[in-house]
């Protein structure tokens, strides 16, 4: 197993109390595999990724329990200096907003080359050549000239390509892409996603794709983990989940995608709002918004039931997963 997150707990200390952002998340990614982590903002999907990457702001954040096993060793137990050497070289991250994620006062060449000078000890000149190579690789035209330009001189799609190039620079084993296409135009989204998938295949990297866009997921993901209020509520192979969700929240998400074949019908929306993380409802956190909620949901936290039917592993954290799956 390339990456295995086990029972991760993260909380934030705020003035309004302790926000429990991640409450026992477990997931795993193998080399060459794509895991899509799905959820609304506030579900803990980015916080989990930041904890894996080791870039969580601590304080106010705090990892209270859990393990992050990367090729078998627990990253959370590493010293910061060892951890640093993993970041960028063995696992890399792509962020949502490339404009703000790239340093505005350094040329893209400097920012790409930095990966090689710092991690590989290359000379600035060699690093610059590598930067041009990388830009070519992500199909940025006129790379040799544009390597001297600054992030604001590129278009949104090109900037995200630079982010991807930066993440790919040292051919890491794992890439975490946090909403990589959300900030882009729809037409560019597809191109960028395609590039990412292509590079992933080529280098057989593990990919964690954090998104709230179910359309993107269907095309590229192998399996899906759906998060709600800091927990995984459903995890399944991508096809199973689209066929028949085993959690009412997943069903709600699927039903709220506009579809061409259902033109004219009123669009479904999950009622209510995600919970306040300082005051997560008792029992199943989703129960105040759940159409299927019963008395037991108000009191008992549902475990991640094994709902495997075919050969692929599948789980659902719903007391009534059977009704949901078959109903």
């Amino acid at each position: 197993m390339l990456l295995e997150v086990r029972d991760l707990h993260v909380e934030f200390h705020t003035r309004d109390g302790v926000a429990r952002a991640v409450n026992g998340v477990s997931y795993a990614v193998e080399a060459g595999e794509t895991l899509a982590v799905l959820g609304e903002s506030g579900s803990g999907k980015s916080v989990t990724a930041q904890a894996v990457m080791g870039i969580l702001d601590m304080p106010p954040g705090r990892i209270t329990a859990g393990e992050v096993l990367f090729e078998g060793r627990d990253l959370l137990k590493l010293k910061e200096e060892e951890r640093r050497k993993v970041r960028g070289a063995e696992m890399a991250m792509i962020f949502q907003d490339a404009l703000s994620s790239l340093n505005p006062v350094l040329t893209v060449g400097d920012q790409l080359g930095e990966m090689f000078t710092v991690h590989r000890g290359m000379s600035r000149k060699d690093a610059r050549a590598k930067a041009v190579e990388l830009m070519d690789r992500v199909r940025i035209p006129a790379a040799r000239e544009r390597v001297r330009q600054y992030p604001h001189q590129f278009s949104g799609g090109m900037r995200q390509r630079i982010m991807i190039a930066m993440a790919m620079a040292l051919e890491p084993k794992l890439i975490i892409a946090d909403e990589p296409t959300t900030a882009l135009d729809v037409t560019v989204q597809a191109q960028v996603m395609e590039l990412l998938a292509e590079l992933q295949r080529e280098f057989r990297m593990g990919l964690i794709l954090i998104t709230h866009d179910l359309g993107v997921v269907a095309d590229v993901a192998d399996k899906i983990a759906v998060m709600y209020a800091g927990r995984i509520v459903e995890s399944a192979p991508v096809h199973d989940i689209y066929k028949a969700p085993a959690h009412p929240y997943t069903r709600g998400l699927l039903d709220s995608i506009p579809r061409l074949d259902q033109k004219g019908r009123e669009l479904y929306a999950i009622k209510g709002l995600p919970p306040n993380l300082t005051r997560i409802p008792p029992g199943c956190a989703f129960h105040p918004r759940c159409p299927m909620a019963q008395e037991v949901c108000r009191t008992d936290v549902p475990p991640l039931y094994d709902v495997t039917e075919s050969d692929a592993e599948r789980g659902s954290a719903c007391h009534f997963w059977r009704e949901c799956l078959h109903g």
Partner: protein, 333 residues
């Protein structure tokens, strides 16, 4: 507080952007959508993100301020200063102009805790009476600066165009003239020994600062979607300005004005020290400090007490402004 406008959704949208931290819409909208997964991604930025009940910027700020020791202490100091400027005889029964040359430079003694200055005047009484000048100059000058600056800056920001350009150039001109220097030139020829020339001078040189702030925040507020929506709904300019823009643009002006109040008090003292602000027989800390400096070897107390009083006063206003700014600016939380 303005009543809630009928187009709530636009307000929420307006608040999701990065700009306009100072406005109501931002602080309300974040309660709906911000959580650790927000676009910043660096964890929950602040309390209002996670707080359950939506609060307005002002009640939020007030809630904060009441718990802030800096605010409470500086507020109490200012309250005390205001009281003794109105009724100095409450704590100082003597006459600040009554001096006995025979006692010049004498130190602390019963009934005269701060001793005597170079002219044999009671330092304690003069220090207490000096508060009046400082508070009066500070408050009136700030009012004048705030009114003139925010009206001019606000209108320029709202209407833009030629008037705005002209105003910007005029403020540039004022910024190019060092304040103390301007004070020396203007006030050196004035013979009237009241606080009015000093106040007038501070207003004349101080308004561009507030005008810039007001202009900037009006422009920011103007670009908010709910203002555009109100405009689209046919709201008149005056309604837009007074009802939608002013309440959102006023916060930075209040903060800067509070801090400026402290610096104006310091400025009055500086000008009086240089001999062009108030002149004897007026009572001002600046005058007393200036008068005490030649005798500093023998009677340092005559310099230290008014200096201390001045420093504490200025500090109180600046700290108050600082506390108000922290409370009004959710970004810094």
């Amino acid at each position: 507080m303005p009543e809630q406008p009928p187009y709530e959704p636009e307000r929420a949208i307006a608040g999701t952007g990065t700009g306009g931290q100072m406005d109501l819409a931002a602080s309300e909208a974040t309660t709906l959508e911000g959580t650790p997964d927000g676009p910043g991604g660096s964890g929950p930025g602040g309390s209002s993100d996670l707080g359950g009940r939506p609060r307005s910027l002002w009640s939020d700020a007030w809630h904060d301020l009441r718990r802030n020791p800096v605010f409470i202490i500086s507020g109490l100091v200012i309250l005390f200063l205001v009281v003794i400027s109105v009724w100095p005889s409450l704590i100082a029964p003597g006459n600040p102009l009554h001096c006995e040359l025979s006692k010049a430079q004498e130190g602390s003694q019963p009934g005269h805790p701060f001793g005597y200055d170079g002219q044999g005047c009671d330092v304690y009484t003069r220090t207490v009476y000096g508060a009046r000048t400082s508070v009066l100059v500070g408050v009136l000058a700030t009012l004048g600066v705030a009114v003139l600056g925010s009206v001019l800056g606000g209108l320029a920001g709202f209407f833009g165009g030629v008037g705005d350009s002209i105003l910007s150039r005029i403020t540039d001109v004022f910024f190019a003239i060092p304040v103390v220097l301007g004070g020396l030139v203007l006030l050196s020829v004035i013979t009237s020994n009241t606080v009015w020339p000093v106040i007038g001078f501070i207003v004349l040189l101080g308004w561009p600062q507030i005008s810039r702030i007001a202009r900037g925040s009006v422009i920011t507020a103007k670009q908010n979607d709910y203002v555009q929506a109100a405009r689209a709904l046919g709201a008149s300019n005056s309604r837009l300005l007074l009802r939608h823009i002013a309440p959102n643009a006023v916060a930075p002006v209040i903060v800067v004005a509070t801090i400026a109040l402290g610096t104006y008090i310091a400025l009055e003292a500086t000008l009086s020290y240089l001999g062009v602000g108030l002149k004897p027989p007026s009572v001002s800390w600046g005058i007393d400090i200036s008068a005490a400096s030649p005798y500093v070897r023998n009677a340092p107390h005559a310099l230290l007490w008014p200096s201390g009083a001045l420093a504490v006063t200025v500090l109180a206003f600046i700290m108050l402004g600082d506390a108000v700014r922290d409370a009004l600016d959710p970004k810094l939380r």
